[in-house]
Symmetry: C2
Subunit: 196 residues, 2 copies
Amino acid sequence: MSKVAKFNREEVIDKATNLYWSKGYHGTSMRNLQTAIDLRPGSIYATFGSKDNLFKESINYYAAQTGELLEICLAQSATPLTGLKLFIRNLVIDNLDGKPSCMCMIVKSISELTDTDNKELLDEAKRLLANVENKFSEIITEAMAQGEIDSDKDASELASYIQVQIIGLRTYARVNNNEETINKFIDEIFIGSPFY
Amino acid sequence: MSKVAKFNREEVIDKATNLYWSKGYHGTSMRNLQTAIDLRPGSIYATFGSKDNLFKESINYYAAQTGELLEICLAQSATPLTGLKLFIRNLVIDNLDGKPSCMCMIVKSISELTDTDNKELLDEAKRLLANVENKFSEIITEAMAQGEIDSDKDASELASYIQVQIIGLRTYARVNNNEETINKFIDEIFIGSPFY
DNA sequence: TTTTTAATGGAACACTCGTTCATTATACAG
DNA sequence: CTGTATAATGAACGAGTGTTCCATTAAAAA
């Protein structure tokens, strides 16, 4: 046949993801991407088609990575809930070195993109966030089966609650990253609000 | 003297705020603003100096408006905590008709802007969010004085907690706006997590 | 070694960006 | 009514945008 691409596709997507993650969709230009991933326009457009499509692949890659982290945390932990807690601690406190942002790339995208100007990408981000919530719901259902949570609770409602807490904490951490306070908040997710 | 400006400054800032709020800093172009506020570049630059400065005035206007809403809620309520709860309910559920976004403009800005590219605007947004948190802290201190909360709690920690909850809920509401669930979450802020 | 085929590099396109400025319009002072 | 000061206009600027195009390059197949 012919020549084969010399760059590593996943490596390129990884770099693109980091740039989009740190600067956002509108804040990232194709020139920025060209230098970050070290490819010329011809190669980028032959491989990914458009800025929008590269973003779509990037945010999917991000979601997949996050999913893997969750699996690792669950595998390392004795129970579903302690696994979930480890996952949250990883996202909000540890594991941030060299990461483009302490905020969730999906949440950043949902915050930035609009229904009028970027409907397709926004819907993709919403879909990925819903996937995560479904995964949480499964974990909580498993925790109920194991007796770690009362079975009369609503798994999908608890999953929503976890989602709200993670979104709130990661965003708040961008402004005020007091590790002690945030650690306390993570503990309190599962035991009751500090008001109680 | 001479001619006097015929447009209303606050009206213009109000319209600019709504546009920035819905489309974000990078998503809003000066052309978008020109048509939204019905002023030509000359007038805009003579009055506001730059896109950055207009954004700064807009986000300050937004923060002032939000502060006024909080005052109204407190004045309408019997106790500091019920006032705070009314405020949260207003932000997350009611009072959204015709609003550019259910999300907080300050949080959207903190999410979008970067230290490297927009340091000054980012710092301004962080400052405004800290102001809100200080106000929460004052309200909670007042609630302690009135015996509505145990006095041995840490007011500034509770204020952080409120901040996390509002950020989480408003952002989550953008994706999944189930009024019943969100109402329940607002109640639970002050009485204990659904896990408890 | 030759042919074939796709990856690559990078100039260039049409358009939009934030911003400037010479010009025109208008209201008030004299 | 005239002169003057300032607000408003909108064409235009240089730089940057996402994207296209195609000559060149390089490696696999014949």
